[in-house]
Assembly symmetry: C2
Homo-oligomer: 275 residues x 2
């Protein structure tokens, strides 16, 4: 488990905690009252699947192989980022991924493909939607059941999100796409809202906005699961996730790793308790 704090090592229960606390399907019944509203924005999905990626971004360079029920491959739409993050070119990475995904499929293990730098690169700046589409298409073509499009440095806006998705969706059905937004520039929820309006219904997030990527300069962390669920609840979208329990899990994890939560919902609720 590398340099993971002992408190977290201690809890093999971390994964278990997340499973128990995030996925028990209480629907939005326990959500904050003010956030219980009926969806009225057009084009939104009825159900949104939230993929908790805190452990991924926190442990993505660790080998977590034993008993895996799903694997992930981490591609990028930027050559420079690919070289720094996974130490090979995009083309080389695709060859390696193809073998891995093929083996996994033989064992009936589903593979998820990630495309980093989908809205910009810390080294190259702009990344074209065409490049993102090309890499996504390769990952989908080799058998990844879902492609998670990552705004690794959080530079995207609703404008670039829309342009990128319009391009990718010409090649891959929206049902096989997810978005993965970092909140570095505060744009994550607006970008996710845009993706939802375009028919995407799988969203990556991390409890308390933990995680990040050591190779993405200034990447301050994934969008906080708490803030995402708050928005989805407010839109009347079903997630099967109980916000209060996520907040409890976030509080537990932040104390364990001695970090301050990046969730504004958690901060606001904590401040409210103090008053």
């Amino acid at each position: 488990m590398g340099n993971v704090p002992s408190a977290v090592k201690h809890c093999l229960s971390y994964q278990q905690l997340l499973r128990e606390h995030l996925w028990i399907g209480d629907s939005v019944a326990g959500a904050l009252d003010t956030a219980q509203e009926t969806s009225q924005l057009s084009g939104l999905p009825e159900y949104v699947k939230i993929v908790e990626v805190g452990p991924r971004d926190g442990l993505q360079n660790e080998k977590v192989a034993a008993g895996a029920t799903e694997i992930s491959v981490f591609g990028a739409a930027s050559e420079s980022f690919s070289k720094r993050n996974i130490n090979c070119s995009i083309e080389e990475s695709m060859e390696k991924f193809e073998e891995v995904v093929k083996s996994a499929r033989h064992m009936n293990i589903p593979a998820r493909g990630y495309v980093s730098c989908a809205l910009g690169c810390p080294y190259e700046g702009n990344i074209t939607p065409q490049k993102v589409t090309e890499v996504s298409k390769k990952l989908y073509g080799m058998g990844c059941y879902e492609i998670s499009l990552g705004d690794t440095t959080g530079v995207g806006t609703p404008g670039s999100m829309k342009r990128m998705l319009e391009s990718v969706m010409k090649e891959i059905p929206s049902s096989a796409l997810a978005v993965h937004c970092h909140d570095t520039y505060g744009q994550a929820l607006a970008n996710i809202l845009t993706a939802l309006q375009m028919g995407i219904n799988v969203v990556d997030s991390a409890v308390s906005g933990l995680g990040g990527c050591p190779y993405a300069k200034g990447a301050s962390g994934n969008v906080a699961t708490e803030d995402l669920i708050y928005m989805l609840n407010g839109l009347g979208l079903n997630t099967g996730v109980n916000l209060y329990k996520v907040m409890e899990a976030g509080d537990f994890i932040c104390k364990a790793v001695n970090k301050t939560t990046n969730s504004k919902v958690a901060q606001a609720s904590f401040n409210a308790r103090l008053e």
Copy 2:
């Protein structure tokens, strides 16, 4: 100037600084490259006016009368909040505002009306769109040229924003409406995006997310002007405001009042400079 830090008192130039730094109409020419994109979301306005409200929320209880070229009246859609914030009922406040606005109009001074608690109240919880509409209509009817609809505690989501605006827009043209979003629950930009999509093109914000309201429990501050402009630039919407200069102003103000910026754009840019 009450309990305003002396550094700010010292600069009567604060207002001047904002005027000089925020309104010199450099358009988006100096904006971050990655954020320069063409608007592609449907229904967005071409131009968005940003109203800097830092001083308002910071000094709203101060008497700033000398030489005023515009006045504001601060109504609320919640009885309890009205009583605590301005010490009278909604009905009483409307009577007083009517006199004030009438006098102002006689002197050709435009009056802006604010409606606090438009998406929820710290004391009463839910506020109906009907109540917000009723108060807005009164303010508009007495001669306020614009009604700023305030999510004072930041509890709103794109769902409640849409419902509230749909109701208010039945009575008041969108050209006479503005939104004023606090980012307490991290929803501000997503809420503003929703308002833009509905045709609103005046948005209140505060440099570095400063300000707030002492009577709104947990109100962590207005949406940061920097983060708002970043999103608008990314949508290709013209604001006439130069992001870099706003960031300079924000840096100056935060140092002067010894506060950490609440702008994620400013934080990310600062972190990038350190690396």
